[in-house]
Each structure stands twice: as structure tokens, then as C-alpha cells.
Amino acid sequence: MVIILLTKVKLLDPSFSIFLTNVTKMENLKLGNFEELVLLLVGVLCDKAYSVTIVEEYKKQTGKSINISAIHTVLYRLEDKGFLESRLGEAGDYRGGKRKRLFSITPYGRKALDELAELREQLRRQIPPLTIATQN
């Protein structure tokens, strides 16, 4: 609701580009489900987090396999949004002498994760306890 209002206000402003991309960018500041999962995995892997290890960790934790290109997409997107930051790590023979890009969570990303978790927990707590229905 807030977002829609914002866009409406901005549309009135002549300096504002009316390209839809600006609107989608705003929405992208939210965390998607899969994005949240990858963000969590980066956190779990701590300073060893880069695409290949994330693929492995994902498989280990969820039991499902995933293609590396999916992870790449999400990692770069999260970095764009400011949830992740990255630096080039060490190179190794096992990767043909090419350096890897190591990712770590930014404080903003951590905060977003915490908020999401809190929201979930809060909502979960409000679910009435499960009772066994009786036939009377």
C-alpha cells in the first residue's frame, strides 16, 4: 500500500522517470523466499561462502540439488540490493588458477533476516494451540 502511494506521488513529479523499472526496484528491496534461503546459507558458511560451496551446502541442508546459475543470479541480485557484500578470495589450482568471489552478509542483510525471523516467530506464536477435537 505504501509503495503504491509512493509511486503515485512520484508520478506527479516531472523529474521522476516513469519507467516501470523504478517501481520494480522498490519491490525488489523485499526479500524473496529463495533469496532468504541463500542469504541464510551465506551466513551459515560464514567466510567460506561462494557459489560452489553454497550449491553444496544447499544440497546438504535441503536434500535437493540446484544449478549453479540459479545461485549466481541470486547472489548478484542480493549484492545489488545491499544484503550481501563481496570480495575476491584466493585462487587455487582446483579452479584453474582463477580467484573466487566470497560473499558475506552486510549488517543490513542481517537486520532484514532478523526482522523476517521475528515476524515469522511472532505470527507463529499467535496461532492457537492445536487441540484434539472431541466428539461431544
Partner: protein, 894 residues
């Protein structure tokens, strides 16, 4: 690193590197490699390779793609203006090169433009007839077991007039009849009218003959109406309106004069038609719509050719019984195919040939390649000379793209200038070119200009890419420090693009020049071969009308013995023309319908024919004088001709081919045998063979000598031949004309020289040869310009080297040797490529002639020698220029 470790698939990696953006390439490639090696450890190589490919494909997504450089960064107005300025300065600085470069390209464009106009003309035939896709010409192919095999362009069956009524798919049938030559008389003026056809009234419903005046619906509906072309109207009535006038037209078979009214004036037809109409006459009556006619059918929309064909055959069988089609094939030809694909007997005019269209398309392509290669070579040499400038640009931060853009701007600009010059050149050359090979330009000037501009831009881009890529990837430090020496590379160790391009150039030049030389040999052969007949100094009055023909004896008697006249004779077909009549020859004891009786051409001759035409006998004697000119009886409607023919006494001559066709071995054996000749109802009485004629070429050398039987028959002497003496040609001609006018006042005196008639047979070959000369000449000039530029440039870059060599005592000769060695190597290689190719093409072409020259190795030697000579002399001259300067002056810079 383990050196034995398998590599990932090369092409996958290459593909990845191609699409991947630079700033992410390292990490992404690392990821891919890491997974590849991991899967290599876990599985085997094949699976790892497949997985690698799979992953490379999967990574082909947005995040990995190249970032587009935004347009503004290298396409910038001020940079563009600046590059124009630099291009101008460079042009001034390297004036010679730039001019060579542009002029080579301009000549190439001019040549290609001319060929395009030629090709368009050749392929555009009949395009002005709006319904040309639905119009078919009906032709007939007759064969017989006797060896008779002729495919006629026209049809002689009268029942075809019924086709539009019997076959619903056919809308109209139009006959064009020119069985006889027409003579037109207007007041005092007499004209022999070619391209005059009797035709049907609905001709304008089928063909788009545009009437300037007159109504197409009614113009030819009434008998004795005539429609003439605009040009003809001007010729007949130079100062007045031709419309509605009456003109007198006399036919060929009778002296009867008919008066026709001009009911329409037709716009003169463009040259691209096989049916050049100058005069259309309506039929006098239904009977006239018979016998030989060029027959055109207009099909209904969507009608199927095969259906019409089978219905036509059914029609013939219904009329004439089941063997109506024996030895007779009716063939439909689409109107627009006639010019390039037909070439049958009795075409209205000589056709073109798809072969030449193909050859010249290839030649146009070759010249375009030649020119582009030239341009590439010279531009890249030019750019190398400017390596320092490029280096500075790079240091100042020019991106690779910008440099490429800069170089492309330059080459496109040059190419456009060249196209302008080339267009102008073509414009100037076209009148004489068009006349030389008989071509009109039917393309709109706008189309030509746009086409030229488009091809100039394309050529500029193609030619500019190579130098652009080379220079933009130049090593920065190297290019700043020194100018690299330019040479073709030492040995044949590796493929070198520069050397490849020059080889290509040489090869194309050799191909064109050698082919032109051999074609010239053949052409000279055609014109100079001893034909077994003397064609000099012989006048021919061809296809004389009946009335004239019947008075031949009178004509002969009057002229013979007069001053300047060496002999007078006549024949059925004028030498040089193919004999069109033939029949079956039977020897003693043979039945007339015997299938083994050979079919032969018949040449009817006067007694003096052999002597006047210089034809020699292998044995025997000429036709005896005892066969005399008797008064020819009057035949009404052709009645009584066959009785007359069979009742005359006969004697025959055969040529050697005919003798062999009869199965006789020697002339001596042949003499005294008796033969008879027949064709349908026309039969000639049995008579002795009195002589055997040595084979001579009656017609074009494209065809083999046919068996010919010679006979005397005054009824059929349609061509008069007069041999004149060389001195006092003019007065002799006057004498003949006076005699003619006295005997035949109503017919114009027209004559040809027999040697001209023979030369005319090869008109098409002459045209093609001239075109080939022109093109190979141009190709040579273009190649020379390119070569010259390269040699000058390579010497320039090697000035210092040459100077040092000279200081160390090298002679002029050894320097020339040094420089020319690499070029001569290239020449030899390209000769090895071009000569077999040229041999292949030229022998295919020669196969079209029954009598031809052998492909002589001399032509190739001359070509190679000539190019080699040009090459060496260029190198020698340029080196000499360098040698004149003091080596110290060159070397003191260091």
C-alpha cells in the same frame, strides 16, 4: 599444476568467454572449472565434459552477459568530426596510396555496375508483358528414325487453332506468322519490312503492346488492318500523321499487292523481348491462319501446365488416331524462359544463353572480390604506416571499439567516394558499352544509385573490418617504437592472410586473362578457319520474292560477262545459313519408307555454284549443263508442284558426309549410283550421282557438317549470289543495281556480302568476347594498382634494410631478387590454383562448338609471363628509385 590434467571442452570455454562480461569472467570461469574438476574426480571425462557444456549453457543468463557500451561513449558528434579531419589529413599525407586505393575501387564499381546492367537486361526479358507468367509458347519437336531431329520454335499444325474452344484452361491462342517477307510501298519508296507478323485480333488481350493511337479492341479485328510501331510510322510518314493512311504491302510468294489501312500506332518495344514486333497485320481471311506460326497461349489463372499438355495430346490423338504423336512432341515454353533457355530452330531472333549469364555473374563476383581484397590490402598497409598515430590514440585512452569505428568510418568514406567516381565512369562508358554488346539500361537511375551506395557501404565495411581489427589489436609499445616491416612472410610455413589475399588476386587475374586469350583463339579460329568455300567478294541477294526468283536466268544472262562480274549463281540457302529443308534419300532398290534411308539436307544450286563459291569436288563433275532452265509453269495454290517435280530429269551431287551416310566408302564407288529424294508429297525423280563434293561448312562451326544432297531445280533458287572483282567495286555494284531495277522495278535492291554473313553467325560470341576483354582488362588494371601499392609500401618499410644491404655490398639485382622472390612464389601458387580452374571452364565453353581449337598451354605461359614481367618491372623500377639515394642519408637517422 598437473600438466596431464584434462582440459574442459575448448569450444564451450570459448563460447563462455565470448558471452561473459569482463568483470565477472574470472570468478565465473573459476566456478565452472572447479565444478568441472570436481565432476572429473567423481565421474569420467565424458560426463564431466557434458556437465561443463550444460553449465556453460545454464550460465548464459543476464548476470553473465556483456555489458553494452552505451552509444554516447563512442558515437559522439565531435569525435566523428575529429575523425573526419584526421582522415582528410591522412589522405593528404599518403596521397598516392589513397588515390590508388580509391581509383582501384572506382574501376571495380564501374565494372560491376556495367555487368549488373547487362545481367539485369538479360534476365528481364518479356517483363513488360503483364501476363507473361500465364503466357506459354507452343513449340514442336519432330524426330524420325532416319535421324531427323529438329525442335522448332513455331508450329505448323492447323488443328491447334481449335485449342481455346477445346481446352477450357486456355483463354486465348495468338498466332504470329511471318512465313514470307513483306515489301511495303508508299508512293515512290519501297521498303523490305522485317519483324512484320500476321496475327489475331485479340493479340492485345494477351500481349501488352501499348497503342499510342487506335483502339486495342478493334484495331486488328477487320481484314487488311495494320498496326505499326512508332519508329516505323516516322520512317514511312516522316512529315505527317500515319494513322488512317493506306499502305501497299506485297508478299513474298506472289506479286499481288494488297492495300492495308493503318489502324493503330504502337509504342516501339524495348529491346528485351524475343518477339520484336514492328508491324502487325490482321489476317486477310480464315485460310491465312494456317501453316507455320509462332503460337502463344494465354492460360487461365491457376491453370496447370501438365493438364493442358495432356489435353492437347488427347486432342491430337482424337483427330488423327493413336499414332498422331509419333515422332512429334508438343512442348510448352514459359514466355519469360524463351530468351535464356530456348535456342530452337527458327527462333525469331538470336537468343541469349543462361551460360553467359552465369559466367558473367561469376565474373562480377570475382571483380568485386578482387576490388575488396585490393582495398583491404592497401588500407591495412596504410594503417600500418600510421601505427604511431594509433599508438598515441591508444595511450590517450581510445577504446578498441572507437578505433574500429574510426577505421570503418574511413573505409566507408573512401568506398563511397570511389562509388561516386565509379558511377560517373560507368555513366560515361555505358553508351559505347551498351552498343558494343547490345544492351539497354532498363534499371531506374534511382535503383542504381541506391544499389551502388548500399554496395559501397557493404564493401567499405567488409574491407574496413580487417585493418580495423589488426590495428586495434596492435601491440602498443611496438607500434610506438617502430614501424613494422611489411612483407608477405618468408616461407609457406603458415597460412598468412595477407599472402592468401594476394594469391586470390593473382588467381583471379590469371583466370580472367587466360580465359580471354583462349576465347580469342577460338573466335579467330571461327572467323579464319578454311571453310572449304570462298566467302570473299561474293554478294548475296537473300530470300528474293517469287517473281524475282523466277527470272533468275534472265538476271544471270544479263550480268554474265559484264565488266567486274566474275560469276553469277544461285542456291536455295545462302552459304552461312543452316539448310532448313531436308528429306529422305533412297538409293536403288530402297523403298521410300525404308527406315534405314538416311535423312539429308537439300541444297538446290545453279550449275555455276561450285565454281563461283570455290567449292571443290572430290570426284566427278558439277551438275551437267544439259539440265536447263525451262519456263516454270504457273501453279495455282500450289497445285501441280509435285507432278512438276517428279517429271523433271535429275542429277545429284553429294557431299562427303552424305556419301558416308549412304554407306559408300569412296567417291569413286559413289559415282554413277542412282538416288532419289523425297519429302512428303514432294519427290524428285531418280537420277545418277555425278559428283562428290568435298565437305565445306555451310553453317556455323558450332554445328557438325550435315549430309547434304545437291540438286538443280529452278523453282527453288531463292538466293542470288554474284561474285565480283575487287577493282571498281562501286561501279560494279551500280551495274548490278541498274540491272536489278530494270528487271524487278517493284522490289528494292538489297544485298549482303557473304563474308559478313559468316561473321554475323558469331555476333553473340563477338559480344561475349568483347565483354570478356573489357572485364579482364579492368581486372588487370585493378590487380596492378593493388600490387603496385603493396610493392611501393613494402619497399618503403624496408628502406633501411635495403640501405644496409647496399652498404654491405649487395647489388641492385640481388635486392630486386630479394624483394621479388616472395611475390613470384605467390604468383606460382596462384597459377597452380587458377590454371586448372580456367581449363575446366574454358573447355566447357569450347564443347559448345563442333569445331574448336585446343586449349593451348601457350595462353597460360603468356599470361603468367606477362604478369611476372609486370611484377618484376614494377619492383625493379621502385627499387631503382630507392637505389638512387645515398644509403648514408637513410641510415644517418639512427
Amino acid at each position: 599444476m598437473n600438466p596431464n590434467r584434462p582440459e574442459p571442452p575448448k569450444w564451450a570455454l570459448r563460447f563462455f568467454r565470448w558471452y561473459c562480461r569482463g568483470d565477472r569472467q574470472e570468478e565465473l570461469e573459476g566456478d565452472l572449472l572447479e565444478m568441472f574438476y570436481a565432476s572429473l574426480n567423481a565421474r569420467n571425462l565424458t560426463i564431466a565434459n557434458l556437465l561443463f557444456w550444460y553449465n556453460v549453457m545454464r550460465c548464459f543468463r543476464g548476470y553473465a552477459w556483456r555489458k553494452e557500451v552505451s552509444g554516447g561513449r563512442f558515437w559522439n558528434y565531435s569525435i566523428f568530426i575529429n575523425s573526419l579531419k584526421v582522415i582528410r589529413r591522412n589522405f593528404k599525407h599518403h596521397r598516392l596510396f589513397s588515390l590508388l586505393n580509391i581509383s582501384g575501387l572506382a574501376i571495380g564499381f564501374a565494372a560491376v555496375l556495367l555487368i549488373v546492367i547487362y545481367l539485369h537486361f538479360e534476365t528481364s526479358f518479356e517483363n513488360f508483358h503483364g501476363k507473361s507468367e500465364r503466357i506459354y509458347r507452343l513449340t514442336v519437336h519432330y524426330t524420325s528414325p532416319n535421324g531427323y531431329d529438329t525442335h522448332f520454335a513455331r508450329v505448323d499444325a492447323d488443328w491447334i487453332n481449335d485449342i481455346p474452344n477445346s481446352i477450357p484452361e486456355v483463354e486465348h491462342l495468338i498466332r504470329f506468322q511471318n512465313q514470307e517477307t513483306r515489301y511495303v510501298q508508299i508512293g515512290e519508296h519501297k521498303f523490305r519490312q522485317e519483324n512484320a507478323f500476321s496475327t489475331d485480333g485479340n493479340v492485345f488481350d494477351v500481349f501488352d503492346f501499348e497503342l499510342l493511337s487506335g483502339d486495342p479492341k478493334s484495331a486488328l479485328r477487320l481484314p487488311y488492318s495494320v498496326v505499326i510501331s512508332e519508329a516505323l510510322a516516322e520512317k514511312y510518314f516522316p512529315d505527317g500523321n500515319a494513322m488512317g493512311e493506306e499502305i501497299a504491302i506485297t508478299g513474298f510468294w506472289s506479286s499481288e499487292e494488297n492495300r492495308y489501312q493503318i489502324t493503330g500506332i504502337m509504342k516501339s518495344l524495348p529491346a528485351n523481348t524475343h518477339l520484336p514486333v514492328d508491324m502487325l497485320l490482321s489476317f486477310q481471311n480464315e485460310e491465312e491462319r494456317s501453316w507455320w506460326a509462332y503460337t502463344y497461349l494465354l492460360f487461365q489463372e491457376g491453370a496447370d501446365l501438365a493438364t493442358v499438355q495432356s489435353k492437347l495430346e488427347a486432342m491430337a490423338i482424337k483427330r488423327y488416331g493413336s499414332n498422331a504423336l509419333e515422332g512429334t512432341d508438343y512442348v510448352f515454353q514459359p514466355l519469360s524462359d524463351i530468351h535464356l533457355h530456348s535456342d530452337l530452330a527458327r527462333e525469331i531472333r538470336a537468343n541469349g544463353s543462361i551460360l553467359y549469364v552465369r559466367v558473367f555473374s561469376i565474373v562480377a563476383m570475382l571483380i568485386l572480390i578482387l576490388v575488396t581484397v585490393n582495398f583491404m590490402n592497401l588500407s591495412s598497409a596504410l594503417f600500418m604506416a600510421r601505427a604511431r598515430e594509433i599508438g598515441v590514440r591508444k595511450v590517450l585512452g581510445a577504446a578498441r571499439r572507437q578505433l574500429i569505428f574510426y577505421s570503418l568510418t574511413e573505409s566507408v568514406l573512401f568506398s563511397l567516394i570511389a562509388a561516386t567516381i565509379g558511377g560517373g565512369l560507368a555513366f560515361l562508358l555505358f553508351p559505347s558499352f551498351g552498343e558494343m554488346i547490345g544492351v539497354q539500361n532498363l534499371l531506374y537511375p534511382g535503383t542504381l544509385v541506391i544499389g551502388l551506395a548500399a554496395s559501397a557501404i557493404c564493401t567499405g565495411l567488409v574491407a574496413g573490418v580487417y585493418p580495423a581489427v589488426v590495428l586495434s589489436s596492435l601491440n602498443l609499445v611496438k607500434s610506438m617504437r617502430n614501424i613494422t616491416t611489411f612483407s608477405l612472410g618468408k616461407t609457406s610455413s603458415q597460412f598468412n592472410l595477407k599472402r592468401g589475399l594476394i594469391t586470390l588476386q593473382f588467381a583471379i587475374s590469371i583466370l580472367l586473362i587466360a580465359s580471354a586469350l583462349i576465347a580469342r583463339d577460338q573466335f579467330l579460329y571461327l572467323n579464319e578457319k578454311n571453310l572449304g568455300i570462298e566467302r570473299e567478294q561474293v554478294l548475296a541477294m537473300t530470300d528474293v520474292p517469287d517473281e524475282v526468283k523466277d527470272k533468275f536466268k534472265l538476271f544471270k544472262d544479263q550480268l554474265s560477262g559484264q565488266a567486274g562480274i566474275a560469276g553469277v549463281t544461285a542456291s536455295l540457302e545462302v552459304p552461312s545459313r543452316e539448310i532448313r529443308d531436308g528429306g529422305v534419300v533412297t538409293s536403288e532398290g530402297m523403298e521410300e519408307n525404308d527406315e534405314s534411308a538416311p535423312s539429308m539436307d537439300i541444297q538446290v544450286i545453279d550449275h555455276d555454284y561450285l565454281e563461283v563459291m570455290g567449292i571443290s569436288l572430290a570426284a566427278g563433275e558439277p551438275l551437267p549443263e544439259s539440265l536447263t532452265y525451262l519456263p516454270i509453269p504457273e501453279f495455282l495454290n500450289g497445285d501441280g508442284v509435285s507432278e512438276y517435280l517428279i517429271n523433271q530429269r535429275r542429277a545429284y551431287l553429294l557431299n562427303e558426309t552424305a556419301m558416308r551416310a549412304m554407306g559408300w566408302e569412296s567417291p569413286e564407288e559413289t559415282l554413277g549410283k542412282s538416288i532419289a529424294w523425297s519429302q512428303g508429297e514432294y519427290k524428285l525423280a531418280r537420277g545418277p550421282v555425278v559428283g562428290v563434293i568435298k565437305d565445306y561448312h555451310q553453317e556455323t562451326l558450332k554445328n557438325k557438317i550435315d549430309p547434304i544432297v545437291f540438286v538443280f531445280e529452278p523453282l527453288w533458287l531463292r538466293n542470288f549470289l554474284v561474285k565480283v572483282e575487287t577493282n571498281h567495286m562501286e561501279s560494279t555494284l551500280e551495274l548490278i543495281e541498274d540491272n536489278w531495277n530494270q528487271l524487278f522495278p517493284q522490289y528494292p535492291f538489297e544485298y549482303h556480302f557473304v563474308d559478313d554473313l559468316y561473321a554475323k553467325l558469331y555476333q553473340n560470341e563477338r559480344k561475349q568476347l568483347q565483354l570478356l576483354y573489357l572485364l579482364s582488362g579492368l581486372a588487370m588494371v585493378i590487380a596492378f594498382i593493388g600490387l603496385f601499392g603493396l610493392i611501393v609500401y613494402s619497399l618503403k618499410t624496408r628502406t633501411r634494410e635495403v640501405a644496409i644491404r647496399r652498404v654491405l655490398g649487395a647489388s641492385f639485382i640481388s635486392v630486386v631478387k630479394l624483394i621479388s622472390r616472395e611475390y613470384l612464389m605467390v604468383l606460382i601458387v596462384s597459377g597452380a590454383v587458377a590454371i586448372p580452374l580456367s581449363y575446366f571452364f574454358i573447355s566447357r565453353w569450347l564443347e559448345g562448338f563442333a569445331y574448336r581449337v585446343d586449349v593451348s598451354p601457350m595462353s597460360y605461359m603468356i599470361t603468367l609471363g606477362f604478369i611476372g614481367l609486370v611484377l618484376l618491372s614494377t619492383i625493379a623500377l621502385q627499387t631503382l628509385k630507392g637505389v638512387k639515394t645515398n644509403p648514408a642519408d637513410i641510415l644517418k637517422d639512427e
